[in-house]
Protein backbone atom coordinates (compact mmCIF):
# COMPACT_ATOMS: atom_id res chain seq x y z
CA UNK A 1 0.00 0.00 0.00
CA UNK A 2 1.30 3.47 -0.94
CA UNK A 3 0.98 5.57 2.21
CA UNK A 4 3.24 8.40 1.07
CA UNK A 5 1.03 11.50 1.21
CA UNK A 6 3.77 14.12 1.02
CA UNK A 7 3.87 14.61 -2.74
CA UNK A 8 3.82 18.41 -2.39
CA UNK A 9 7.26 18.19 -0.83
CA UNK A 10 8.47 15.86 -3.55
CA UNK A 11 6.59 13.24 -5.50
CA UNK A 12 7.06 9.54 -4.98
CA UNK A 13 7.05 7.15 -6.68
CA UNK A 14 8.24 8.34 -10.08
CA UNK A 15 7.55 6.61 -13.40
CA UNK A 16 10.14 3.83 -13.83
CA UNK A 17 11.33 5.54 -17.02
CA UNK A 18 12.73 8.44 -14.97
CA UNK A 19 15.45 6.41 -13.26
CA UNK A 20 16.07 4.44 -16.45
CA UNK A 21 16.75 7.64 -18.42
CA UNK A 22 19.04 9.02 -15.74
CA UNK A 23 21.02 5.79 -15.38
CA UNK A 24 21.29 5.58 -19.16
CA UNK A 25 22.82 9.04 -19.30
CA UNK A 26 25.20 8.34 -16.43
CA UNK A 27 26.25 4.82 -17.40
CA UNK A 28 25.76 4.49 -21.15
CA UNK A 29 25.29 7.59 -23.26
CA UNK A 30 26.89 10.47 -21.36
CA UNK A 31 27.48 13.76 -23.15
CA UNK A 32 27.12 17.40 -22.23
CA UNK A 33 24.80 20.08 -23.60
CA UNK A 34 26.08 21.68 -26.81
CA UNK A 35 29.69 22.85 -26.73
CA UNK A 36 30.82 20.44 -29.48
CA UNK A 37 29.32 18.37 -32.30
CA UNK A 38 29.97 14.65 -31.96
CA UNK A 39 27.05 12.18 -31.83
CA UNK A 40 27.15 11.67 -28.05
CA UNK A 41 26.55 15.39 -27.50
CA UNK A 42 23.91 15.55 -30.21
CA UNK A 43 21.95 12.81 -28.50
CA UNK A 44 22.28 14.31 -25.04
CA UNK A 45 21.47 17.81 -26.25
CA UNK A 46 18.55 16.62 -28.33
CA UNK A 47 16.93 15.11 -25.25
CA UNK A 48 17.32 18.38 -23.33
CA UNK A 49 15.57 20.22 -26.16
CA UNK A 50 12.90 17.53 -26.32
CA UNK A 51 12.29 18.17 -22.62
CA UNK A 52 11.91 21.89 -23.29
CA UNK A 53 9.34 21.08 -25.98
CA UNK A 54 7.48 18.70 -23.67
CA UNK A 55 7.38 21.39 -20.98
CA UNK A 56 6.04 23.94 -23.46
CA UNK A 57 3.21 21.61 -24.39
CA UNK A 58 2.45 20.93 -20.73
CA UNK A 59 2.27 24.62 -19.80
CA UNK A 60 0.44 25.68 -22.96
CA UNK A 61 2.90 27.86 -24.82
CA UNK A 62 4.19 27.81 -28.38
CA UNK A 63 7.41 29.53 -27.31
CA UNK A 64 9.49 26.63 -26.00
CA UNK A 65 12.70 28.57 -26.58
CA UNK A 66 11.69 30.95 -23.80
CA UNK A 67 11.71 28.15 -21.23
CA UNK A 68 14.80 28.43 -19.04
CA UNK A 69 15.99 25.29 -17.26
CA UNK A 70 17.13 25.86 -13.68
CA UNK A 71 17.85 23.78 -10.59
CA UNK A 72 14.40 24.36 -9.08
CA UNK A 73 11.49 26.79 -8.89
CA UNK A 74 13.20 28.87 -6.21
CA UNK A 75 16.12 29.62 -8.54
CA UNK A 76 13.67 30.50 -11.30
CA UNK A 77 11.70 32.82 -9.01
CA UNK A 78 14.86 34.55 -7.80
CA UNK A 79 16.00 34.97 -11.39
CA UNK A 80 12.75 36.62 -12.38
CA UNK A 81 11.97 38.64 -9.23
CA UNK A 82 15.50 39.96 -8.80
CA UNK A 83 15.90 40.37 -12.55
CA UNK A 84 12.69 42.34 -13.07
CA UNK A 85 12.41 44.51 -9.97
CA UNK A 86 14.07 47.87 -10.36
CA UNK A 87 14.47 50.63 -7.77
CA UNK A 88 11.26 52.42 -6.97
CA UNK A 89 9.00 49.62 -8.10
CA UNK A 90 5.84 48.43 -6.39
CA UNK A 91 4.92 44.73 -6.40
CA UNK A 92 1.60 43.10 -5.58
CA UNK A 93 1.43 39.55 -4.30
CA UNK A 94 -1.05 37.28 -2.54
CA UNK A 95 -1.62 36.25 1.05
CA UNK A 96 -0.90 32.62 0.17
CA UNK A 97 2.69 32.93 -0.96
CA UNK A 98 5.44 30.45 -0.28
CA UNK A 99 8.72 31.95 0.92
CA UNK A 100 10.11 31.32 -2.58
CA UNK A 101 8.26 34.49 -3.60
CA UNK A 102 7.94 36.24 -0.24
CA UNK A 103 11.62 36.17 0.74
CA UNK A 104 13.05 37.56 -2.51
CA UNK A 105 10.45 40.35 -2.36
CA UNK A 106 11.24 41.09 1.27
CA UNK A 107 14.99 41.01 0.52
CA UNK A 108 14.52 43.64 -2.19
CA UNK A 109 12.32 45.72 0.15
CA UNK A 110 14.96 45.62 2.87
CA UNK A 111 17.53 46.81 0.33
CA UNK A 112 15.29 49.80 -0.24
CA UNK A 113 14.63 48.88 -3.85
CA UNK A 114 10.92 48.04 -3.89
CA UNK A 115 7.70 48.13 -1.92
CA UNK A 116 5.36 45.16 -1.89
CA UNK A 117 1.88 44.59 -0.54
CA UNK A 118 -0.82 41.96 -0.46
CA UNK A 119 -3.85 41.74 -2.69
CA UNK A 120 -7.17 41.26 -0.93
CA UNK A 121 -8.25 37.65 -0.61
CA UNK A 122 -11.22 35.53 0.43
CA UNK A 123 -10.96 33.35 3.52
CA UNK A 124 -9.45 30.45 1.53
CA UNK A 125 -6.88 32.79 -0.03
CA UNK A 126 -8.54 33.28 -3.42
CA UNK A 127 -7.61 36.71 -4.72
CA UNK A 128 -10.61 39.03 -4.98
CA UNK A 129 -10.18 39.94 -8.61
CA UNK A 130 -12.60 42.86 -8.53
CA UNK A 131 -10.49 44.50 -5.77
CA UNK A 132 -7.20 44.33 -7.68
CA UNK A 133 -7.64 47.62 -9.56
CA UNK A 134 -7.75 49.60 -6.32
CA UNK A 135 -4.27 48.31 -5.40
CA UNK A 136 -2.57 49.25 -8.66
CA UNK A 137 -0.22 52.22 -8.64
CA UNK A 138 1.59 54.07 -11.39
CA UNK A 139 4.82 52.36 -10.28
CA UNK A 140 3.40 48.82 -9.98
CA UNK A 141 5.92 46.78 -11.94
CA UNK A 142 4.84 43.22 -11.18
CA UNK A 143 2.07 41.03 -9.80
CA UNK A 144 3.60 37.83 -8.42
CA UNK A 145 1.37 34.99 -7.21
CA UNK A 146 1.39 31.27 -6.64
CA UNK A 147 -1.04 29.41 -8.86
CA UNK A 148 -1.85 26.79 -6.24
CA UNK A 149 -1.31 27.14 -2.51
CA UNK A 150 0.96 24.52 -1.00
CA UNK A 151 -1.03 24.79 2.25
CA UNK A 152 -4.65 24.28 1.26
CA UNK A 153 -4.49 23.43 -2.45
CA UNK A 154 -6.59 26.44 -3.50
CA UNK A 155 -5.91 27.41 -7.11
CA UNK A 156 -6.04 31.02 -8.29
CA UNK A 157 -7.36 32.04 -11.72
CA UNK A 158 -4.34 33.62 -13.45
CA UNK A 159 -6.29 34.44 -16.62
CA UNK A 160 -8.83 36.56 -14.70
CA UNK A 161 -6.06 38.22 -12.72
CA UNK A 162 -4.14 39.11 -15.88
CA UNK A 163 -7.23 40.71 -17.41
CA UNK A 164 -7.55 42.98 -14.39
CA UNK A 165 -3.93 44.20 -14.48
CA UNK A 166 -3.68 44.74 -18.24
CA UNK A 167 -0.09 45.42 -19.30
CA UNK A 168 1.46 44.97 -15.85
CA UNK A 169 3.48 41.74 -15.96
CA UNK A 170 2.06 38.69 -14.21
CA UNK A 171 4.45 36.19 -12.64
CA UNK A 172 2.95 32.85 -11.64
CA UNK A 173 4.58 30.24 -9.43
CA UNK A 174 3.22 26.94 -10.76
CA UNK A 175 5.30 24.74 -8.46
CA UNK A 176 2.29 22.88 -7.10
CA UNK A 177 0.07 22.98 -10.15
CA UNK A 178 2.05 22.18 -13.29
CA UNK A 179 1.44 18.50 -13.93
CA UNK A 180 -1.66 18.05 -11.81
CA UNK A 181 -3.80 21.04 -12.76
CA UNK A 182 -4.39 22.88 -16.06
CA UNK A 183 -1.83 25.60 -16.81
CA UNK A 184 -2.31 27.67 -19.99
CA UNK A 185 0.45 30.20 -20.24
CA UNK A 186 -0.44 31.67 -23.63
CA UNK A 187 -4.22 31.58 -23.26
CA UNK A 188 -4.13 33.17 -19.81
CA UNK A 189 -1.57 35.80 -20.80
CA UNK A 190 1.00 34.75 -18.22
CA UNK A 191 4.21 36.74 -18.71
CA UNK A 192 6.50 34.84 -16.37
CA UNK A 193 6.10 31.35 -14.91
CA UNK A 194 8.18 29.30 -12.50
CA UNK A 195 7.90 25.54 -12.15
CA UNK A 196 9.63 22.61 -10.52
CA UNK A 197 10.27 19.21 -12.02
CA UNK A 198 10.10 17.02 -8.94
CA UNK A 199 6.56 17.60 -7.67
CA UNK A 200 3.49 17.16 -9.86
CA UNK A 201 5.58 16.60 -12.98
CA UNK A 202 7.01 13.45 -11.30
CA UNK A 203 10.60 14.20 -12.34
CA UNK A 204 13.78 14.18 -10.25
CA UNK A 205 14.88 16.81 -7.78
CA UNK A 206 17.31 19.40 -9.14
CA UNK A 207 15.08 20.22 -12.12
CA UNK A 208 12.79 23.15 -12.73
CA UNK A 209 12.69 26.36 -14.64
CA UNK A 210 11.11 29.55 -15.81
CA UNK A 211 9.07 30.72 -18.76
CA UNK A 212 10.17 34.26 -19.64
CA UNK A 213 7.99 35.89 -22.27
CA UNK A 214 9.95 39.15 -22.23
CA UNK A 215 13.65 38.31 -21.82
CA UNK A 216 14.62 41.95 -22.29
CA UNK A 217 12.85 42.81 -19.01
CA UNK A 218 14.99 40.43 -16.96
CA UNK A 219 18.61 40.78 -15.91
CA UNK A 220 20.44 37.45 -15.61
CA UNK A 221 20.99 36.05 -12.14
CA UNK A 222 24.03 33.99 -13.16
CA UNK A 223 26.85 34.95 -15.49
CA UNK A 224 29.16 32.49 -17.22
CA UNK A 225 29.69 30.19 -20.16
CA UNK A 226 26.80 29.35 -22.46
CA UNK A 227 28.56 27.87 -25.49
CA UNK A 228 27.31 30.82 -27.54
CA UNK A 229 28.68 34.27 -28.33
CA UNK A 230 31.86 33.15 -26.62
CA UNK A 231 33.97 36.00 -28.03
CA UNK A 232 32.06 38.43 -25.82
CA UNK A 233 32.47 38.95 -22.07
CA UNK A 234 28.79 39.86 -21.85
CA UNK A 235 25.93 37.39 -21.60
CA UNK A 236 24.02 36.70 -24.85
CA UNK A 237 20.84 38.69 -25.36
CA UNK A 238 18.94 35.71 -26.78
CA UNK A 239 17.18 32.94 -24.88
CA UNK A 240 17.51 30.44 -23.40
CA UNK A 241 21.26 31.15 -23.37
CA UNK A 242 20.89 34.52 -21.62
CA UNK A 243 19.73 32.81 -18.43
CA UNK A 244 21.47 29.42 -18.65
CA UNK A 245 25.10 30.01 -17.67
CA UNK A 246 26.99 26.84 -16.81
CA UNK A 247 26.41 23.19 -17.60
CA UNK A 248 22.79 22.27 -16.85
CA UNK A 249 21.63 19.25 -14.85
CA UNK A 250 21.60 17.07 -17.96
CA UNK A 251 21.02 13.81 -16.12
CA UNK A 252 18.10 15.31 -14.23
CA UNK A 253 16.64 16.91 -17.35
CA UNK A 254 16.74 13.54 -19.14
CA UNK A 255 14.83 12.15 -16.15
CA UNK A 256 12.29 14.96 -16.30
CA UNK A 257 11.87 14.39 -20.03
CA UNK A 258 11.13 10.73 -19.33
CA UNK A 259 8.60 11.71 -16.65
CA UNK A 260 6.81 14.00 -19.09
CA UNK A 261 6.67 11.25 -21.72
CA UNK A 262 5.56 8.52 -19.33
CA UNK A 263 3.00 10.16 -17.09
CA UNK A 264 0.77 7.54 -15.48
CA UNK A 265 -2.98 7.58 -15.80
CA UNK A 266 -4.36 8.60 -12.41
CA UNK A 267 -5.48 5.56 -10.43
CA UNK A 268 -8.13 7.55 -8.58
CA UNK A 269 -10.76 9.90 -9.93
CA UNK A 270 -11.68 13.45 -9.07
CA UNK A 271 -14.80 12.04 -7.44
CA UNK A 272 -12.67 9.75 -5.25
CA UNK A 273 -10.73 12.79 -4.05
CA UNK A 274 -13.93 14.79 -3.51
CA UNK A 275 -15.32 11.92 -1.44
CA UNK A 276 -12.14 11.88 0.67
CA UNK A 277 -12.44 15.60 1.37
CA UNK A 278 -16.11 15.27 2.27
CA UNK A 279 -15.32 12.45 4.66
CA UNK A 280 -12.56 14.43 6.35
CA UNK A 281 -14.81 17.49 6.70
CA UNK A 282 -17.35 15.44 8.64
CA UNK A 283 -14.90 15.10 11.54
CA UNK A 284 -15.70 17.92 13.95
CA UNK A 285 -12.34 17.69 15.72
CA UNK A 286 -10.57 18.94 12.62
CA UNK A 287 -10.58 22.20 10.74
CA UNK A 288 -9.91 21.32 7.12
CA UNK A 289 -7.83 23.74 5.06
CA UNK A 290 -9.00 23.51 1.44
CA UNK A 291 -10.48 25.66 -1.32
CA UNK A 292 -13.96 27.02 -0.65
CA UNK A 293 -15.02 25.74 -4.05
CA UNK A 294 -13.98 22.24 -5.19
CA UNK A 295 -13.58 23.59 -8.74
CA UNK A 296 -10.46 25.40 -7.51
CA UNK A 297 -9.08 22.54 -5.42
CA UNK A 298 -5.74 20.91 -6.11
CA UNK A 299 -4.77 17.46 -4.87
CA UNK A 300 -3.73 18.51 -1.37
CA UNK A 301 -5.32 19.69 1.84
CA UNK A 302 -4.34 20.28 5.45
CA UNK A 303 -5.96 19.67 8.80
CA UNK A 304 -5.75 21.43 12.16
CA UNK A 305 -6.80 19.39 15.19
CA UNK A 306 -8.59 21.06 18.07
CA UNK A 307 -6.08 19.80 20.63
CA UNK A 308 -3.16 17.99 18.96
CA UNK A 309 -0.35 20.05 17.42
CA UNK A 310 0.57 19.57 13.79
CA UNK A 311 3.76 17.71 14.72
CA UNK A 312 1.86 15.45 17.15
CA UNK A 313 -0.62 14.73 14.37
CA UNK A 314 2.06 13.86 11.80
CA UNK A 315 3.81 11.56 14.28
CA UNK A 316 0.53 9.85 15.14
CA UNK A 317 -0.35 9.33 11.50
CA UNK A 318 3.03 7.75 10.87
CA UNK A 319 3.38 5.63 13.98
CA UNK A 320 -0.19 4.35 14.09
CA UNK A 321 -1.06 4.20 10.40
CA UNK A 322 2.22 4.34 8.47
CA UNK A 323 1.05 7.51 6.73
CA UNK A 324 3.74 9.99 5.71
CA UNK A 325 2.45 13.58 5.89
CA UNK A 326 4.01 16.99 6.53
CA UNK A 327 3.64 19.09 9.67
CA UNK A 328 4.37 22.77 10.23
CA UNK A 329 4.29 25.94 8.18
CA UNK A 330 5.34 24.40 4.84
CA UNK A 331 7.58 27.46 4.18
CA UNK A 332 4.43 29.54 3.77
CA UNK A 333 4.03 31.62 6.95
CA UNK A 334 1.93 34.29 5.21
CA UNK A 335 -0.58 31.66 4.14
CA UNK A 336 -0.89 30.38 7.69
CA UNK A 337 -1.38 33.90 9.00
CA UNK A 338 -4.19 34.33 6.49
CA UNK A 339 -5.77 30.98 7.35
CA UNK A 340 -5.38 31.47 11.10
CA UNK A 341 -2.90 28.66 11.73
CA UNK A 342 0.25 30.71 12.39
CA UNK A 343 2.67 29.91 14.04
CA UNK A 344 1.66 26.34 14.84
CA UNK A 345 0.96 25.31 11.26
CA UNK A 346 -1.03 22.27 10.22
CA UNK A 347 -0.69 18.70 8.98
CA UNK A 348 -0.76 18.37 5.19
CA UNK A 349 -1.69 15.47 2.94
CA UNK A 350 -0.83 15.59 -0.76
CA UNK A 351 -1.76 13.00 -3.34
CA UNK A 352 -0.04 11.25 -6.21
CA UNK A 353 -1.62 9.93 -9.41
CA UNK A 354 -0.44 6.52 -8.20
CA UNK A 355 -2.80 6.54 -5.19
CA UNK A 356 -5.70 4.14 -5.53
CA UNK A 357 -9.24 4.71 -4.22
CA UNK A 358 -8.47 2.10 -1.53
CA UNK A 359 -5.50 4.13 -0.35
CA UNK A 360 -7.64 7.27 -0.19
CA UNK A 361 -10.20 5.34 1.85
CA UNK A 362 -7.41 4.19 4.18
CA UNK A 363 -6.33 7.84 4.65
CA UNK A 364 -9.93 8.90 5.32
CA UNK A 365 -10.31 6.18 7.95
CA UNK A 366 -7.00 7.11 9.58
CA UNK A 367 -8.02 10.76 9.81
CA UNK A 368 -11.36 9.68 11.22
CA UNK A 369 -9.70 7.47 13.85
CA UNK A 370 -7.15 10.12 14.87
CA UNK A 371 -9.95 12.65 15.16
CA UNK A 372 -12.10 10.60 17.52
Amino acid sequence: MNLYFDNCATSFPKPAAVAEAMVRHLNETGGTYGRSAYPRILQSTGLVEECRDQLAAKMGTTEAGKIILTANATTALNLMIQGICKKGGHVLTSAMEHNAIARPLEYLRQLGLIEWELLESATDGRILVDKIASKLRSNTILVAICHMSNVNGMAQSPGEIKKSINEIPLLVDASQSLGSHPVMVDEWGIDFLAFTGHKSLLGPTGTGGAFIRYPEMVEPLLYGGTGSGSDSLSMPTFVPDRFEAGTPNITGIHGLNAALKNRPVARHSKDDFAALLQEVKRNLNFKVRCAADFEHQGKLFSVVHNSLSSSELALKFYEEFGIESRAGLHCAPMAHRHLGSFPTGDCRFSLSPYHTPEELNYLAKAIHDVGK
Partner: protein, 75 residues
Protein backbone atom coordinates in the same frame (compact mmCIF):
# COMPACT_ATOMS: atom_id res chain seq x y z
CA UNK B 1 30.26 15.71 -47.26
CA UNK B 2 33.16 18.11 -47.02
CA UNK B 3 34.14 19.73 -50.36
CA UNK B 4 32.58 23.11 -51.20
CA UNK B 5 29.75 22.86 -48.79
CA UNK B 6 27.69 25.56 -47.19
CA UNK B 7 27.76 26.16 -43.46
CA UNK B 8 24.70 27.46 -41.65
CA UNK B 9 25.36 29.02 -38.25
CA UNK B 10 22.64 29.52 -35.66
CA UNK B 11 22.42 31.70 -32.58
CA UNK B 12 22.35 28.86 -30.12
CA UNK B 13 22.29 25.13 -29.52
CA UNK B 14 18.53 24.84 -29.38
CA UNK B 15 18.18 26.31 -32.85
CA UNK B 16 20.76 23.90 -34.27
CA UNK B 17 18.94 20.95 -32.74
CA UNK B 18 15.54 22.13 -34.01
CA UNK B 19 16.91 22.83 -37.50
CA UNK B 20 18.69 19.47 -37.70
CA UNK B 21 15.51 17.69 -36.62
CA UNK B 22 13.56 19.59 -39.28
CA UNK B 23 16.05 18.40 -41.89
CA UNK B 24 15.76 14.80 -40.70
CA UNK B 25 11.97 15.02 -40.75
CA UNK B 26 12.10 16.36 -44.33
CA UNK B 27 14.77 13.92 -45.57
CA UNK B 28 17.26 16.75 -46.19
CA UNK B 29 20.82 15.51 -45.66
CA UNK B 30 22.83 17.72 -43.32
CA UNK B 31 25.80 17.12 -41.10
CA UNK B 32 26.27 18.57 -37.65
CA UNK B 33 29.85 19.77 -37.32
CA UNK B 34 31.85 21.93 -34.90
CA UNK B 35 31.79 25.57 -35.94
CA UNK B 36 34.80 26.09 -38.26
CA UNK B 37 37.60 28.25 -36.98
CA UNK B 38 36.92 31.54 -38.83
CA UNK B 39 33.39 31.68 -37.41
CA UNK B 40 33.82 30.06 -34.02
CA UNK B 41 32.21 32.78 -31.95
CA UNK B 42 28.72 31.34 -32.07
CA UNK B 43 27.59 28.03 -30.59
CA UNK B 44 29.75 24.94 -30.68
CA UNK B 45 27.86 23.25 -33.50
CA UNK B 46 26.48 24.20 -36.89
CA UNK B 47 25.02 22.52 -39.96
CA UNK B 48 26.95 21.67 -43.12
CA UNK B 49 25.01 20.92 -46.28
CA UNK B 50 24.56 21.77 -49.96
CA UNK B 51 23.78 25.27 -51.13
CA UNK B 52 20.28 24.24 -52.11
CA UNK B 53 19.46 22.78 -48.72
CA UNK B 54 21.15 25.70 -46.97
CA UNK B 55 18.67 27.99 -48.70
CA UNK B 56 15.78 25.90 -47.45
CA UNK B 57 17.30 25.97 -43.99
CA UNK B 58 17.51 29.75 -44.07
CA UNK B 59 13.87 29.94 -45.06
CA UNK B 60 12.90 27.56 -42.25
CA UNK B 61 14.93 29.62 -39.79
CA UNK B 62 13.35 32.88 -40.87
CA UNK B 63 9.85 31.43 -40.57
CA UNK B 64 10.66 30.31 -37.04
CA UNK B 65 12.28 33.51 -35.81
CA UNK B 66 15.83 32.15 -35.84
CA UNK B 67 18.84 34.24 -36.81
CA UNK B 68 21.33 32.48 -39.09
CA UNK B 69 24.56 33.18 -40.92
CA UNK B 70 25.56 31.25 -44.04
CA UNK B 71 29.08 30.70 -45.23
CA UNK B 72 30.68 28.74 -48.01
CA UNK B 73 33.01 26.16 -46.56
CA UNK B 74 36.10 25.83 -48.74
CA UNK B 75 38.28 23.01 -47.53
Amino acid sequence: MSENRDIVLFQNIRQVIKAEQWCVDNSLPVKVIPVPKPWSTECGMCLETTGEIAEKLEQYAEENGMRTRRMHNHK
